[in-house]
Symmetry: C2
Subunit: 334 residues, 2 copies
């Protein structure tokens, strides 16, 4: 601790990788069933049953709007993986973290980043058991999560006639991101900004939904509502009709104030981390009860139809939802 304090204002280049590794290894959790010690070449544990693994890479230059703290960046990297696991009905257990860090990063920034990773893991019941640190001119956080599941929820299984539902409303992150990119932070509701910089994963909701066995397909909405629905559409060879678009009221107000189309925010945003799922009509009550039992909200938004494609009915008009969202490599940021 003394060493940490005395070096708080130094850069990683000054303290070197040894300092970083010592810090990380001293903070790694040795879970109850771990068979190797923190700092070994690998981590090992006993596992019996269904293992669910997912991964996400956060690249600071494209995925992090200015103004996010290192703690928030760390937390968001974990949330992305927890959300994937939650969408399959899995609870995260172990996380491995690969970091690419700039040599001019201050050690106190590194400690802040690590505390964000750590506190997010701990709030979702996971332990950081290993990883790798590297030098990189662009900060990178690559997270691997290992979870356990009872009943799995797959992307595949939606049937025409099923109800399409979500765990919440959409549009906040697209609004919040626009506010951050355009410098409208002061006049924008904090909840819109927080949806971008401090998101949450729907873990309790995913576990509760999976336990019902009523869900016919499930996906997380991190690619955006429209893009996620098109993925479900393709894999299940079905379509969707949205009859009650899940418009967040603050996103609606934000759109009105800034002359934006609210459906643009709702459909084509991304990183919402809501779960998007289908359930047979005989399972609606059970799914709704399951979500309520964990403090969540069952939000039916439409139905599964025959034939591919996604359409939407809004203010009496029917329109086609476009198969687009945020794509890496192409320059289409709002």
């Amino acid at each position: 601790m003394r060493r940490l304090l005395s070096s708080a204002g130094q850069t990683l280049a000054e303290v070197g990788e040894g300092w970083v590794l010592n810090y990380v290894i001293s903070r790694l959790v040795k879970p109850k069933y771990a068979l190797l010690e923190p700092g070994d070449d690998a981590a090992a544990f006993q596992h019996h049953g269904t293992a669910v693994v997912s991964t996400d890479m956060l690249v600071a230059e494209t995925d992090v709007p200015q103004g996010m703290t290192w703690r928030q960046i760390g937390s968001k990297a974990i949330v992305a993986v927890v959300s994937d696991l939650a969408a399959k009905g899995a609870g995260p257990r172990y996380m491995l973290i690969n970091l690419g860090l700039r040599p001019d990063m201050k050690t106190y920034e590194f400690v802040e980043l690590w505390s964000g990773l750590e506190s997010a893991c701990s709030s979702y019941g996971a332990s950081i058991i290993g990883g790798d640190t590297n030098e990189c001119s662009v900060p990178i956080i690559s997270v691997f999560g290992i979870g356990t599941a009872g009943r799995l929820m797959s992307r595949r299984g939606a049937r025409p006639g099923d109800v399409l539902a979500t765990t919440g409303l959409f549009g906040k992150t697209a609004a919040g991101l626009r506010a951050l990119l355009n410098g409208w932070v002061d006049e924008t509701p904090q909840s819109l900004i927080e949806s971008v910089v401090a998101p949450h994963a729907r873990l309790r909701e995913g576990l509760a939904l999976a336990a019902t066995g009523a869900v016919t397909s499930c996906i997380d909405s991190s690619d955006g509502l429209a893009a996620s629905l098109y993925q479900l559409s393709a894999v299940n060879d079905v379509g969707f009709e949205i009859t009650s678009p899940p418009i967040d009221p603050e996103a609606r107000r934000f759109a009105e104030e800034h002359g934006l189309e609210v459906l643009e925010l709702v459909l084509y945003g991304g990183e919402e981390y809501e779960l998007l799922f289908t359930v047979g009509s005989d399972g609606v009550a059970e799914a709704s009860r399951a979500l309520q039992s964990v403090g969540g909200t069952f939000t039916p938004i439409g139905t599964v139809t025959r034939g591919r494609g996604v359409s939407l009915v809004y203010e009496g008009r029917r329109m086609k939802v476009e198969p687009r969202g945020w794509q890496h490599f192409r320059r289409k940021r709002p």
Copy 2:
């Protein structure tokens, strides 16, 4: 395939992330026991027994000397993780790959990178079951491996009096890297260059050693011989005396030709991917036999001593080995 050919000269920016994801998902392996399909939010499988997980991040700007092909880069990223697993006695089963790629990367380069990842996985018995692709101005390959083990080998367990041994000789990678960085490729033996651009992991050796139960501690030497020994020294509260330095003859010749100190190449290089292990004197014959049975070589180099620190006897002189190797964040590249 038609699509691939017609787009072979295009960049990722031109074809977009959809193309990349389609390509990757179409190549993902659905292992026999997989419970979710390739392309889902997560991968799931049944696992019963000891799971061993490890991860490594390869950053093109610091970890890849010029002249490596994309196929070699992909392969090397896999080798680093397989080597970690092998050092614990685990065989790799599943790999998840996070890629950070430049928008101006050509699609044929991407396909080459992927084929390197894929063929290395397949040669070590692993399947790529998931991952994430991102845009990044610095190419990044972050690999996460999941393996299975019978008997584990830990870093901890070396006892004074044990024999210290390796699976091979050292110095080739430090020589090869110097040749690459200084433009001496034409006059340098191909085997030295290949040790850098096309390394192999000692998987068969690790599995065979673990099965004996005779190994008291094991670590892979990817941080360099000296740095790895100092790690073993610290965790076991023992020291090492190297009496037969594992000097590769081609590295020795390279050092002589270029006026370099051969021990500098042998001790302070890195990325050798040899296994470094200790074994009680009653286990030497068994460990040696085990290595020979898989085509490997038992290479005893010294003994475990009381008290920390690493010393070396060479040409009749005893010297202290320094606790250094390659450190990220600090500017000390050869």
